[in-house]
């Protein structure tokens, strides 16, 4: 496995972890029961993802890793739309496009 493919996989894992965290935080905010359970779940997967995040920091500069993690804003927004039935207006779609374009630019550089 080449380094670049490993980096891309690690980034995807970190984004998934961050998305999962926000998913649990949203559940904790929206539901009146089991708040502690959801927050504990978020903290748990955060700690699990920390190992992957540090492995990523060893391979690429943090100045590259940080912007890539911003893709989690897109995944969380999409999660909100399809799972929580939240609406995404045109301003948000433009924002999602901007974030994706920026990430694609950096992504193409990692490859």
């Amino acid at each position: 496995m080449t380094d670049n493919i490993l980096v891309m996989i690690l980034i995807c894992i970190c984004i998934l972890v961050e998305t999962g965290e926000h998913f649990f935080y949203s559940l904790a905010g929206k539901l009146d029961r089991k708040k502690v359970l959801f927050i504990a779940s978020a903290a748990t997967i955060h700690l699990m993802g920390l190992g992957v995040w540090y492995g990523l920091l060893k391979l690429i500069p943090i100045g590259v890793a940080m912007p890539m993690m911003s893709l989690s804003y897109v995944t969380v927004a999409l999660l909100g739309k399809f799972f929580f039935k939240e609406t995404i207006n045109s301003q948000r779609w433009i924002a999602i496009f901007l974030i994706s374009a920026g990430a694609a630019l950096i992504w193409g550089d990692i490859r």
């Binding site: 500069p61 940080m66 912007p67 433009i94």
Partner: protein
């Protein structure tokens, strides 16, 4: 009852952003100080104080984040605290002397403006 706080408690906001930046800086320093490979990397990581400093800041930051959310709209707080992302990129370049080319700078600028637009409501 809908909260309509337009003004952020500036102190808490600055504190959160500073903690955020410090967390990532400590993480970066911890990685710099752990030059081993494989499993040894992780054992070296947990033996540097920087790793634990970064870890401790997390709950502290969460406390202030919850405090901030009780006083302000999420739609304003969330995009404004995302200012830590471009600041980290700038710090990475000047402080940690990382090699960042134009794609990273332009990509970061696009991402930062996108994040701000994502949640900001008039």
């Amino acid at each position: 009852m809908k909260k309509k706080n337009i003004s952020l408690p500036l102190g808490i906001f600055i504190l959160i952003v500073v903690f955020d930046i410090l967390t990532y800086c400590f993480q970066k320093i911890a990685v710099i100080n752990s030059s081993e490979s494989g499993i040894a990397f992780y054992t070296a990581l947990i033996s540097t104080p920087w790793f634990w400093l970064a870890l401790i800041l997390g709950p502290i930051q969460l406390y202030f984040w919850i405090k901030l959310l009780s006083k302000s709209d999420l739609s304003l707080a969330y995009p404004i605290t995302s200012i830590s992302t471009p600041i980290i990129v700038i710090l990475a370049y000047f402080l940690f002397k990382e090699n960042l080319n134009w794609q990273v700078w332009l990509g970061s600028a696009l991402i930062s403006s996108g994040i701000f637009m994502l949640n900001y409501k008039e």
